[in-house]
Amino acid sequence: MSRLLAWRLVAWSLGIVPLVNGLRLTLQGRLGANPIEYLEHYTGIWALRLLTVTLLMTPLRMMTRLTEPIRVRRLIGLWCFAFACLHLLVYLVFDLAFSFTQLLADLMKRSYITLGFTAWLLLLSLAITSTTTWQRRLGHRWLVLHKLIYPAALLGAIHYLLLVKADIRQPLIYLGILVGLLIFRVPWRRRQGAQTLKSAFPPVRQPKNESQLPNVS
């Protein structure tokens, strides 16, 4: 089995396993006393987890010098989007009963809804332009556009934080990990410079690069 195939299998199972597990719990009626809330939390937390995993791929590539993390990143990102869509759908169907006036009211009045919905819109634009055709069509602007994953991640984590009544440890852990992953990118970009652009494009195995090592000059 090739290494890429192994990475792809892992990436697919990151989405399929929680999806199948969620379906299993639903069909077995094991969603607890408040099934709708359970589904909202389940789909939301998996969207946030998979978003965190996509942001982990660049550090992973740098640490392992493998290109596979970048080559499965889109797949994981699309699974994240799928869970975000399910999350939104459960809210639209069961909380709002498809009332768009109520959706508008929520969007204007409830900051956690505003933030969460904005995050979903960002993910939507990334999912639409995730195809190779769109990558080519947008050229270097594609890279700029897909930086939107950073605000999407932060909005998602803050959306979670605002929902919790008192025990904010869990959302703070997610927020902390995401902020850590974002901070990681700052010095790296400076050192890597123009290399970043090239490496993000059709994944070519990179030669060992001096500038990737800690620079003490």
């Binding site: 069909l27 077995q28 099934p35 809330e37 929520d106 025990d167």
Partner: protein, 316 residues
């Protein structure tokens, strides 16, 4: 000064209806039809009867005070709890509250009263004084249930201790014991859990002191052995596992009130006054798929006169 239950509240006394009548199958099936196929087993019922290990309680007087609405299954009411002393997830209290020792259990009643006293909770289990009341329960988190509580009217109970004219409020305290409640070490809330009522709220015939649920003593996760049940206020006002009741002159501080201004002292159920972060206009009755409208005072308009001089938006 009180209390004529039968005059002041429109009550339809009724026995607890058998299970089958409570499961409103027609509406339930209709909702399922609207829902996706995957949701088919959502909410199908579990056990309706209380845990047989708990001691049975008899209450000769039964008052149906939820407008004839169906009871929420016992399994649901006992496995979806906010009792942060036993963990902050809804299933945590059912898992962890077994550590709570509910006997022996005494309650201290003191403060501005002529007959302060420490009483044993077993004294309250006398079937001659117990009533069953079916009440709606609405949580500040916008979910709700209907439960058959067993207990005594709070006002009649409090009068035994002869509150003085200085008793303008009543403060309630939950047990705080790190050994029985290890989760409190995390300091999510300011413990001991404290709540309070204005004296006229406490004396209102709807205010209830519960010792049982579904014909048996309270399960620990629902606030055994003694809890408040104030059906027109958000659930966190109905303090659990009470060890002290104190008559006080000034409005007492409450746990959630000290956490954030989001939780007012009165916290009357009010669809017009939103929680700062979410709407209170609707709620999800546990077991139902779609939300329903929230009623002012949780559908207990008889308490409105308590607040006639108040701006409910300001004094939320």
């Amino acid at each position: 000064m009180l209390i004529e239950v039968s005059q002041s509240i429109p009550i339809h006394p009724s026995e607890i209806t058998p299970e089958a009548l409570y499961v409103d199958r027609r509406r339930f099936l209709k909702e399922l039809g609207l829902a996706a196929g995957a949701a088919i087993t959502i909410g199908t019922s579990q056990a309706w009867a209380a845990e047989p290990a708990l001691a049975p309680l008899t209450a000769p007087r039964k008052l149906e005070m939820a407008g004839g609405e169906g009871l929420t299954p016992y399994e649901t009411i006992t496995h979806y709890n906010n009792f942060y002393e036993f963990g902050t997830d809804k299933e945590d209290p059912a898992r962890n509250a077994g550590r709570l020792r509910t006997r022996p259990w005494s309650v201290v009643i003191d403060g501005e009263c002529e007959a302060p006293q420490r009483i044993d909770v077993d004294e309250l289990l006398n079937p001659r004084v117990l009533e069953e009341r079916i009440y709606r329960h609405r949580c500040v988190e916008a979910w709700s249930f209907v439960a058959p509580w067993i207990g005594v009217p709070l006002g009649e109970f409090l009068m035994r201790f002869k509150p003085t004219s200085k008793a303008k409020f009543v403060a309630f305290y939950t047990l705080f014991d790190r050994q029985q409640m290890p989760e409190t070490a995390r300091g999510v809330l300011n413990w001991p859990y404290r709540e309070g009522l204005r004296i006229d709220e406490a004396m209102h015939p709807l205010s209830f002191l519960s010792v049982g649920l579904y014909g048996r003593v309270l399960p620990n996760q629902n606030g055994a052995p003694l809890r408040l049940t104030v059906p027109w206020k958000y659930g966190f006002k109905s303090i659990k596992s009470i060890v002290r009741i104190q008559f006080v002159e000034k409005q007492p501080p409450t746990t959630w009130g000290s956490m954030s201004a989001e939780y007012g002292f009165y916290s009357n159920v009010n669809p017009e006054v939103d929680h700062p972060r979410w709407s209170q206009a609707q709620e999800r009755r546990l077991g139902e798929l779609f939300k329903r409208k929230t009623l002012l005072f949780n559908g207990y308009p008889e308490v409105a006169s308590l607040y006639s001089a108040m701006d409910l938006r300001k004094d939320y």
